[in-house]
Amino acid sequence: MNTANQYLKAIYLVQEQEDGPASTGDVADMLEVSPASANEMIGKLEEQDLLEHEKYKGVDLTDEGIHRAREALQNYCIIERFLLEVLEVEEFRGEAKQLEGVIDETVAERLDTIIDREPQCPDCFDAEDDVCGLIELEAEASD
């Protein structure tokens, strides 16, 4: 997943949590980058009409930005589920974070052919815990 898509995903998740515009500080925190780096990328994404940035208010994704962010989030869910279901990785959350930058969308699509993913994905994603909410429920059900 490229850097722009990772930013869009982070902004989308912060907006979900805040139920409003995302502050650049929160986006920078989520991505563990400096606010200056976040500002620079936000500027680039604004030039591509993927978001609107209003000073002191924050960042709002456009419809196209939301579309791209949701695709990126879906790819992230695929990586998490693949690690858990196929490779049986216990620390799938931490590892998905490490791997998402190296796993391209086309690769995620292929991995998706061998995992079980619910049709409502990525709406079930729990932004707070950075994990598909259904994975948690499934784990509880199997306990």
Partner: protein, 159 residues
């Protein structure tokens, strides 16, 4: 969540190679499945699928050797075959055999290309010989590129 960064440890490298093995297993299993369910396949398509399955097996063997040196394990082929079968049967909108094969080859090419780039930009001292690692991955990537070309040519011939 973290931004794109190069491969930073043996563990992460092994994990990525494991993903490579699974991708190869998916190609092999899907090629086998296409061949078994399509009774009246064109001989040229049949040859292509045979070749794809054979090449994928060679690729995963090469990856498995690297993974073994990193003290990690791979997912057995029969497990992936079962997963492919399960999803294959439930796939109502299955694209044509050649198109699927093209996706397989393109995906594998992209995966190895990204992985090579990530390894090249990494300063990590892996416990595996870096030159051997890169030359193996480059060879596999180039064969995937040839595969894309072969499928594309066959698709064009049939248009």
């Amino acid at each position: 969540m973290s931004l794109q960064r190069p491969v930073g440890s043996d563990h992460q490298l092994a994990r990525l190679l494991q993903i490579g093995v699974v991708l190869e297993e998916v190609v092999e299993a899907r090629a086998d499945k296409h061949a078994s369910v399509s009774a009246d396949l064109d001989p040229a398509v049949e040859r292509l699928l045979d070749h794809a399955a054979e090449e994928s097996e060679q690729h995963r063997r090469a990856l498995e050797e690297l993974i073994a040196e990193l003290d990690a394990e791979t997912v057995p082929f029969d497990e992936i075959q079962t997963l492919v079968e399960a999803q294959y049967e439930s796939d109502d909108e299955f694209d044509g055999v050649l198109y699927d094969q093209l996706c397989n080859e393109e995906t594998a090419y992209k995966f190895y290309d990204d992985l090579i780039e990530a390894i090249e930009t990494s300063e990590t001292d892996f416990s595996i010989d870096r030159d051997r690692l890169l030359s193996t991955l480059e060879r596999i990537r180039d064969e995937e590129a040839d595969g894309v070309e072969e499928v594309t040519e066959l698709m064009e011939e049939r248009e």
